[in-house]
């Protein structure tokens, strides 16, 4: 890899990484999600001539990241043990983790980061109406769980 390619890759990462990481973290939680992001970007670097021409790099790399996540089950966690001073209510992470994968993805990407329903539908390869359903159910469940937790 020459310096030009390295520079191009750095720009590519700047553009793609935030969305890719948020999508994969919404699926797998902090640690595994970040690892999957790194895996997908590593694939891009190793296949740079191919990766640079992707029409929908985030959607494709999310799938690469998912494909490299093993079948071994580990809990999805949104714990922030290293930041005990956090101002977030403690129930948000566990409540988010207890949603279904698709509900979590829809809530995080659409409600949290302003993705359009169409963008998330393309990412999940499902209908826009299905994303809407996952979003509504996810938000309803999330609020209910946080309310229960907060009043427990």
């Amino acid at each position: 890899m020459d310096e030009d390619q390295r520079h191009q890759f750095e720009e590519f990462v700047q553009v793609v990484e935030p969305g890719l990481r948020r999508a994969l973290v919404s699926v797998y939680g902090f640690e595994r999600g970040r690892e999957a992001t790194a895996e997908a970007l590593a694939w891009s670097w190793e296949h740079w001539e191919k990766a640079r021409t992707l029409d929908h790099p985030i959607a494709y790399l999310v799938r690469v990241g998912q494909s490299k996540s093993r079948s071994r089950k580990v809990p999805v966690t949104f714990d922030r043990a290293e930041q005990p001073e956090s101002s977030f209510e403690p129930s948000l992470g566990p409540s988010l983790a207890s949603l279904t994968e698709r509900q979590r993805m829809a809530v995080v990407l659409v409600h949290g980061f302003g993705w359009t329903l169409r963008e998330v539908a393309d990412l999940m390869e499902i209908k826009v109406t299905s994303v809407q359903t996952h979003l509504e159910r996810g938000l309803r469940n999330l609020r209910a769980m946080m309310e229960v937790s907060d009043h427990a």
């Binding site: 890899m1 390295r6 890759f9 750095e10 990462v13 700047q14 990484e17 990481r21 973290v25 919404s26 797998y28 902090f30 640690e31 595994r32 970040r34 790194a38 895996e39 970007l41 590593a42 694939w43 891009s44 670097w45 190793e46 191919k50 990766a51 021409t53 992707l54 929908h56 959607a59 494709y60 799938r63 690469v64 998912q66 494909s67 490299k68 093993r70 079948s71 071994r72 089950k73 580990v74 809990p75 999805v76 949104f78 922030r80 956090s86 977030f88 209510e89 948000l92 988010l96 983790a97 207890s98 994968e101 995080v108 409600h111 949290g112 980061f113 390869e125 938000l139 999330l142 609020r143």
Partner: protein, 368 residues
């Protein structure tokens, strides 16, 4: 208080800091400059294994003849499972819990199978990926006091899941298949120091553990309990866990089976994860040890087409009934003096393993 959108944004972005281009490039074997694959930092990936491929291809041809679909017993009453688990609990020896002391790490070694996809990225989704099975040694160093690490090493060689996948791979110029997903991996610490030894308290303890994504609640608790058995539980704790497993709704006895990777035999206990998948544990009753955790196909959704790349979801393709779609074989657990160090009494890792017999081979599916 900020609105929910803002709180979600802050939680996600603060919990998983950005991955930088520099981090990726530095970890890449391409950056090593000699063109050979090496292990990545933090166990990123396995080095050159081309030398084992030819041997593996021969081994595969033999091993795959030994495939026997997993037997799922449907007529055995739950009481039988309870009896088996109680028997195993009674045989638990006198092992102490593996709790790391200052500077120490819990070291657990398993053999893990997975199905992975690679591809050039032309076309959307699965259409751009070819799929193959791999088997890896996974070593985990975890601690309650320090960030752990994991190491993955591919063993036994990959196997395409279909001739179509192999054809796609060849169309892309037959690139060397490298082990995927080896970017460290989560070093989940199973804290057995607070794990109860009484069956009556185990249920509450397990209920507090994070649920596993995508699983039924019984399956999640079944897997979590098995995880503690694998990760340093004492004999007393194992006995309590085994008796607890018998109380999980839907846990059934499913005959006997041999572990795909290690070929150790044992009694099978199963619980439904979904209408399509059963989670099973092969249990060595004489040692109250989990030999294998496996995911077995017990139902095929209607309308599911042929295997990859025509699956309904990424990586989810049609399996045959009774096939083991993935497995984790337990190999060893002990205490290590530092992260990355292997305990002195750990047995050596065999030079090579035959690739697990997850799927029937299809014509033309062997690598290369």
């Amino acid at each position: 208080m900020p609105d929910l959108s803002e709180r979600i944004r802050d939680l996600i972005d603060a919990g998983a800091p950005p991955v930088t281009a520099e981090e990726v490039i530095d970890a890449s074997p391409i950056a090593q400059g000699d063109g050979r694959y090496r292990k990545w930092p933090r166990g990123r990936r396995v080095g050159a294994y081309a030398g084992v491929i030819a041997a593996a291809a021969v081994i595969l041809a033999v091993v795959d003849l030994q495939i026997t679909p997993s037997k799922i017993s449907t007529g055995v009453p739950p009481a039988a499972a309870a009896s088996v688990l109680d028997d195993a609990a009674n045989r638990a020896g006198s092992a102490k819990p593996l709790v790391p002391g200052p500077g120490q790490f819990l070291y657990v070694r398993t053999l893990v199978s997975s199905t992975q996809g690679e591809g050039r990225g032309q076309g959307r989704g699965r259409a751009g990926l070819y799929w193959f099975d791999v088997q890896e040694i996974n070593e985990v160093w975890s601690s309650p006091a320090a960030k752990g690490t994991t190491r993955w090493e591919l063993v036994g060689g990959p196997k395409f899941i279909s001739g179509t996948d192999r054809a796609m791979w060849m169309a892309e110029g037959s690139p060397q298949i490298i082990s995927g997903g080896n970017f460290g991996g989560a070093a989940t610490y199973y804290d057995v120091s607070h794990l109860p030894t009484q069956e009556s308290k185990i249920a509450a303890f397990i209920a507090k553990q994070p649920a596993l994504p995508g699983d039924s609640l019984p399956a999640s608790r079944f897997i979590t309990a098995a995880g503690f058995i694998e990760n340093g539980a004492s004999s007393q704790q194992r006995a309590a866990l085994l008796r607890y497993m018998a109380t999980i709704p839907g846990v059934k006895l499913a005959g006997t089976a041999t572990a795909v990777g290690t070929h150790r035999s044992g009694t099978v206990l199963a619980v439904a994860m979904s209408p399509e998948t059963s989670v099973q544990v092969i249990l060595d009753r004489s040692r109250s040890e989990v030999v294998e955790l496996r995911y077995v196909v017990v139902g095929i959704p209607s309308g599911t087409g042929p295997r990859s790349p025509l699956a309904a979801d990424l990586g989810q393709y049609a399996f045959k009934m009774g096939e083991v779609r993935s497995y984790v074989d337990f190999l060893f657990a002990g205490l290590a003096d530092s992260s990355g160090a292997v305990p002195n009494h750990a047995p050596p890792v065999p030079a090579s393993w035959p690739l697990g017999t997850m799927h029937d081979p299809e014509p033309g599916s062997l690598y290369p």
